[in-house]
Amino acid sequence: MGLFKTAFNKIAQGLTKTRTGFVGGLRSVLAGKPISDGLLADLETRMIASDIGVATSRELVADLRAAWERGEIETGDQVLAYLKDQLRAYYPDEDRALRFAEPGAVTVILVSGINGSGKTTSIAKIAKSLRDEGKTVLLAACDTFRAAAVEQLEVWSQRLGVEVVKGKQGGDPAAVAFDACAAAVARGVDVLMVDTAGRLHTQDHLMRQLTKIRDICAKKVPGAPHEVILVLDATTGQNAINQAKVFTEAIDVSGIFLSKLDGTAKGGIVIAIREQLNVPVKFIGVGETPDDVEPFEPGAFVDAMFAE
């Protein structure tokens, strides 16, 4: 089953991995218990421990409290269900699908993020899913900065049997993007995935370089980039908000790939990002192989957050 048809199996697997190492088991605290002030306080603690952030956690708990006071929810189990509903409303299905160009035209997916967040690996993951769906994929190795970054993408391209356009180490990444767009159009591929060098959102000149890469895609391919992915490491704390904000300003991020959710980190910061910047989460990464990717599913996300 392809990535873009919802597959719950793998999430369940990936998320079981995330169930070890919790500070305490809230699920058992929730199950069968009536809502109380103490329970709400525990919930807030758990949310903060998931990196949702103080302000957003308090808002979520205030919503729960209001629902409780209105008599809509009474037990711990209903709390979970309520949160899931809320999050599903927050992340409607249509927001989570990849956007493609018209049939027959090239779709460009630009992938960005800070250093080491998992961009290259996430590209391999998406590329494999697309390939398995019968699409032709071309990769652009625009990380000309980090040592052996091009080689890393090349290894993936060989393993996946997709082609890659590269420049030389230390070369101009915008030039690589230019060549790759031209090649994608000339070869008539379905999807071009552009890998970029990791950069901190505080590095103005590198953020401008990213905008330039985006603009080149837009100029060379009509409607491009169709999707602008920000790869966010699930272990990231509150700084992710700044990251999302600045990357969105620079290249208009259309979705987040939340990587490394197979650890004990919960990635709760994406909720604050959604709330403040309205950027949806599209995928989650749950391992280091190209198969370790799943569509983001709010219900499972909530489950993982409150699992024992």
Binding site: K17, T20, G21, V23, T45, I48, A49, S50, D51, G53, V54, I114, N115, G116, S117, G118, F145, R146, A147, A148, A149, E151, Q152, E154, V155, W156, R159, Q169, L200, H201, T202, Q203, D204, H205, D233, T235, T236, G237, Q238, N239, A240, I241, N242, K260, D262, G263, T264, A265, K266, I269, Q276, E288, T289
Partner: protein
């Protein structure tokens, strides 16, 4: 989004003013602000709880120092506590004799292990040591080559070769052991063992092992690391952690420490605008010293850890000391004194102005630089302060004649138009520059007793803040009465 703690305090503690003693009621209210600020800085909840309770204990009944407001005093207590918890200060890496001293890097995926191996090697080479870098990440595609490239860069850098052309940097890898994910598990043990044999043969002072990233919950991979640990018994095991890590930092740090008995921690990517609360969490849960912090992708971007700086950063008070050091790197003492003498007499010229701008730019991007100033972080986001402005200013000044640069009052309308044409700017921009220059030279004349950083701060309308180590930032907005003295500190690594 985040107000600095100090701002919050001033609100919460305003009612305290004038009282001579901190009492339970007002402390508790203020503590809520402290909690929030620390959580927003990514300090782990449990660490926050224990910290706040010990702060309350210390604060209760404290006489308010005459020089400080109660709010400031509370911040000072928190600040001191943070420093105490994150200390002790930098302790140099212990090298064994005879070598090789074996150093093993470990950590989660993408935290910066490989890059840090290169940085450590650079650091050691500068101290005259010989180093072997061994590639024990057989899993991430390109990881071996990445380390090889870095080893090459270290070799090309200062001290990479001995006077007679001998190699100080060695690289060890076994390419045939590289395999797809999950298929090479265990091979790293052999590679590390062989690397040690080779390092002995080559008489290397230090052997640095670059291991694959792994999750602390991946038993198989953690087991591999334990086996490497047993096979080569490293003298130093360092955990490399991303400084932007959130609440989960304690989980991974704790697991790595339990399974490997860490000797130290290295926090990377501190060049971001993270508040860096993970530093405190990790120190608390492992009890192991923070050895270095990474502040960039280049090989020289490794610094000693200074608890006081990170403490003020966590509290949102900016990283003043780093700024001072950066400034000192760029401006020599004599240059600074000469300039100050000129300024005091109101004789600053456009040339001086340009030089200052250039040295500021060398320090880093304007924003990241000003972001280090106390309380500036959040306000900066919207300022159009970018490096291209410095470029434009530079172009304008370079389009001036020597006489004009020496005497800005020559710059009449027609000269301004000429300069605008020459520099690709507008006459309006040139006028703004002249106005700005006049303002600055006026201001610097008034502020000429202060050091460069105080000037920067005074210009941005902020009072003086923490300068000397361990000394408390004064949080009121007054200008200093005495001339602040900066300890001239030469960086050891340069």
């Amino acid at each position: 989004m985040f107000e600095s703690l100090t701002d919050k305090f001033s609100g919460a503690l305003r009612k305290l003013s004038g009282k001579g003693r901190i009492t339970e009621a007002n402390v508790c209210e203020a503590m809520d602000e402290v909690r929030t600020a620390l959580l927003e800085a990514d300090v782990h909840q449990e660490v926050v709880d224990s910290l706040t309770s010990s702060v309350v204990d210390k604060a209760l009944g404290t006489e308010v120092l005459s020089s400080l407001q109660p709010g400031e005093q509370m911040v000072k207590i928190v600040y001191d506590e943070l420093i105490e918890l994150m200390g002790p200060e930098h302790s140099p890496m212990m090298l064994v004799d005879p070598g090789p001293t074996v150093v093993m890097m470990c950590g989660l995926q993408g935290s910066g292990k490989t890059t840090t191996c290169g940085k450590l090697a650079t650091n050691l080479i500068k101290q005259g040591k010989s180093v072997m870098l061994a590639a024990a990440d057989l899993q991430r595609p390109g990881a071996v080559h990445q380390l090889e490239v870095l080893a090459g860069q270290v070799r090309e850098g200062e001290g990479g070769t001995t006077a007679d052309g001998g190699d100080r940097v060695h690289f060890y890898a076994e390419m045939d052991k590289v395999a797809e994910y999950g298929k090479a598990i265990g091979a790293a043990v052999t590679v590390c063992r062989n690397a040690l044999t080779e390092a002995r043969k080559q008489h290397c002072d230090v052997l640095i092992l670059d291991t694959a990233g792994r999750l602390h919950v991946n038993d198989e991979l953690m087991d591999e690391l334990k086996r490497v640990n047993q096979a080569v018994t490293p003298h130093q095991v360092y955990l490399v952690i991303d400084a932007m890590t959130g609440q989960d930092a304690v989980n991974s740090a704790k697991a790595f420490n339990e399974q490997l008995e860490l000797d130290g921690v290295i926090l990377t990517k501190f060049d971001s605008d993270t508040r860096g609360g993970a530093a405190l969490s990790v120190k608390q849960v492992t009890g192991k010293p923070i050895k270095f912090i990474g502040i960039g992708e280049k090989l020289d971007a490794l610094e000693e850890f200074h608890a006081d700086r990170i403490a003020s950063r966590i509290l949102g008070m900016g990283d003043v000391l780093t700024l001072v050091e950066k400034a000192q790197e760029q401006v020599s003492q004599e240059e600074a004194e000469a300039l100050q003498a000129k300024m005091a007499k109101g004789q600053m010229t456009m040339d001086d102005f340009l030089k200052q701008l250039q040295s500021i730019r060398k320090m880093g991007s304007m924003k990241s630089l000003l972001g280090m100033l106390p309380g500036m972080g959040s306000q900066l986001k919207d300022l159009p302060l970018d490096d291209s402005q410095i470029n434009r200013t530079e172009a304008m000044i370079k389009s001036m004649t020597k006489a004009e640069r020496g005497n800005a009052s020559l710059l009449d309308g027609s000269r301004r138009r000429r300069i605008a044409r020459g520099s690709g700017t507008s006459p309006n921009e040139v006028s703004q520059l002249v106005k700005g220059f006049e303002m600055v030279s006026q201001m610097t004349k008034q502020m000429s007793g202060m050091g460069m950083v105080s000037r920067l701060k005074a210009m941005s309308g902020l009072g003086p803040a923490a300068l000397a180590g361990g000394q408390m930032p004064r949080l009121s907005g007054s200008t200093p009465q005495r001339k602040p003295k900066f300890k001239q500190r030469k960086r050891k690594s340069r």
